[in-house]
Symmetry: C2
Subunit: 369 residues, 2 copies
């Protein structure tokens, strides 16, 4: 069953197509969206995704008359580096990409962010097409945020660059390891937590089907998650204000990823712990009783971690947060829940309070009042 | 005498202030444009400009209460690399730049392009301020094109990112070596050649004053050059069509720079030879008699080269042109003069004709019919 979500951004609006069996028909969508048959298109993917899906996509495109060039990067956050970025740029130049070409991201969030930043900056910007192969990428495929990491901080080098279209083939999710399924569902439930109480509870109630990749549940969950994000992004494309609510759990989450070294935690796992922390913060600020218990119950239902491990030191986490983009003009800013399904941006959070929250989070929230 | 040119780009409009004595008053302009006193501002400059002007600028800003961070790169095109880009990014992160910070380019085109690309991509884009210290930079400070080079092709990695303001202190031009003065004037006369016959002849008639850096002549020449470019950019911010006329001389010029290795020719020298080539192409296409003689007379008056040197091989130049962004979907596109002060975009130029032009250009145009 085809589900289409339109991301409304004026001239830069684009559709997200969600269904099974889309990759073998990819060429039809490129044609529909006016992609050039004369100019080559660069498929960026990684060494884990390529064996499963690259030939399917390439065959569809080549048989329809499109020219393709391929760049396969190593799987994992390490590929979001300037060095790998330059290698993909080399493929683009050697492959003869011009201004009518596109960059196609076939993969998860890392491939999407990397390929998107290539599309945003190759010849100062060419067309970008996303073909997500993870659940997590339902989040990164909406909003046009593309980036690579700097050794000192995540996503520090990037741009806003909207795709022409997103082709979300549910069949590609079947090969995901269970840990990645859970990590992807963390962003899905996050969309409920910030803006849709019913959807947050729906995620918890349908946790078993989602974890089992039931196509109906997954199709609906992705459609609803993508729609919530699209609503927020439509109102604030360049992250001037409202859009910051999407960062629920990300301030602590990014710090966890940075301190642990990219790789130990999947992004969704880190923000799951971060969302548990945000709930503790809400309670400390007397914004909502029982939020931590409610939130962690949802996250645990999706097999997600909610406790900060001991080996991540408080001082290191604090230092990493200060490099975070949410740290503006010397004050700490957090997204804090008001209730399940609603959040606020809270400024001027004292550093000491954040340190207290980290201590509680290490004990799974047990120590909180 | 203050001359102000407004670049009209809707929300992204900005002023260019042209006068003597602006750097010591820089803080007043940052305040006028609402720059934050809380967030640090990164001054990017090079090792040739820094000894002359860095302290003047820094003192003005610090005394007014602004916080500054400095990144000094090596002078020359070599600094427009991803490696130097990453180093400047490191300074930005270590200096604590946030979303209310700005990147200030104090220098010529290389510093402007590099610092501008840092501003365009740091945290997905922060404010950018240009303080050009060369004549050539009057060109690059209008239009928002920022970029670094890929080893295989110039300006291949970049963005469109408009500055908040441009502060053009004529005093900084006094220390320019004569060769750089001439190279800068190449872009000035180019603006006459594409869109303003009277201005093109004015540049020729006032060549001696311009070369002597007479403040009145220079002030007027920069104002007019900047205004012409601003008119074109206002009509076509993202280089969809019209803006391509600004590339007069650049297809051959970029190829010369690429084949000679960045450094042998100054950019203005390379495009001077390129503009001579474009005039030959116009005559070969029967678009205008005597254009080559007229054009080269203007360029020579400004002490600019108009002959292609023997050591740059034809095949290498052709290969470099094929990597150029002006090479679209397999056909060669050139900006060709119709008369002095008017040009057209001509598509589908046969490769063999371009080879013939290169041969004529090597003989200074003597061989042409």
């Amino acid at each position: 069953m085809m589900r289409t979500v339109h991301v409304e951004l004026g001239e830069r609006s684009y559709p997200i197509y969600i269904d099974s069996g889309l990759l073998p028909k990819a060429a039809a969508y490129l044609i529909k969206h006016g992609m050039s048959m004369k100019s080559p298109h660069l498929i960026v993917t990684d060494d884990k995704v390529a064996p499963y899906h690259l030939e399917t996509l390439r065959t569809s495109l080549e048989q329809a008359g499109f020219k393709t060039v391929v760049s396969i990067v190593k799987s994992g956050e390490g590929s979001k580096s300037l060095q790998v970025f330059e290698e993909v740029m080399t493929s683009a130049i050697q492959g003869g990409l011009d201004r009518s070409s596109s960059v196609i991201a076939l993969g998860g969030g890392v491939v999407g962010d990397l390929a998107g930043f290539v599309a945003a900056t190759y010849m100062r910007g060419i067309a970008f097409i996303q073909m997500p192969t993870t659940i997590l990428a339902h989040d990164s495929s909406v909003g046009g945020k593309v980036a690579v990491n700097h050794p000192l901080a995540k996503n520090m080098i990037g741009a806003f660059h909207q795709p022409e279209l997103v082709l979300y083939d549910l069949d590609t999710l079947k090969t995901l390891p269970p840990r990645e399924v859970s990590a992807g569902l963390a962003e899905m439930v996050k969309h409920g937590l910030i803006k849709d109480q019913a959807f947050a509870y729906w995620c918890k109630e349908h946790a078993a089907e989602l974890l089992a990749l039931d196509q109906d549940a997954l199709g609906y969950g992705l459609q609803r998650g993508v729609s919530i994000k699209a609503e927020v992004v439509s109102q604030d494309e360049r992250e001037g204000g409202l859009r910051a609510i999407l960062n629920l759990g990300h301030t602590i989450g990014h710090a966890i990823e940075a301190v642990a070294g990219y790789g130990e935690f999947l992004h969704g796992e880190a923000i799951s712990i971060g969302m548990a922390g945000s709930a503790l913060l809400a309670e400390a600020l007397s914004r909502g009783e029982g939020l931590h218990a409610e939130t962690t119950a949802m996250l645990k239902a999706l097999n997600l971690p909610v406790v900060l491990p001991d080996h991540l030191k408080e001082d290191d986490l604090m230092a990493a947060m200060k490099h975070d983009k949410k740290f503006k003009e010397g004050t700490m800013i957090f997204v804090v829940p008001d209730s399940i399904g609603s959040v606020s941006i809270v400024k001027d959070i004292p550093e000491q309070l954040v340190r207290d929250i980290l201590k509680q989070l290490r004990k799974g929230g047990e120590a909180h009042v």
